[in-house]
Symmetry: C2
Subunit: 79 residues, 2 copies
Amino acid sequence: MKARVTVTLKTGVLDPQGKAIEGALKSLGVAGVESVRQGKVFDIELSATNKAAAETELKIACEKLLANMVVENYRIDIA
Amino acid sequence: MKARVTVTLKTGVLDPQGKAIEGALKSLGVAGVESVRQGKVFDIELSATNKAAAETELKIACEKLLANMVVENYRIDIA
């Protein structure tokens, strides 16, 4: 079973990396960029055949390792 | 206009970061993880009001800065 976990910064948390990308895009002449925020994506292959079991495992993975729950949100999409 | 750009490694390109996460999840006791590949996600706000114009700008942004076309693929989703 394949799943995609997307980890993004919570609203209000400063994102200096995103700001740097925004500045770089502007200096490269890419027009119309108002803001950029960067996150991470994890494509995970699981041995679970049951969607609910896969989701439970992924929640544990996110909370233990993939996301910093203080400043980040995560989203799980199971294919 | 909001858009999300997802940059992932091409198939066959080694992903040591993903391998490390896979190992860490296993040692944390998260069961059933077969493989992990890490990518990046960019949430971009654009001033363009027209979807086609936004897509053109984002393609330029990806090819110039956000993705390394030698080893990475990108995907653009415009909300």
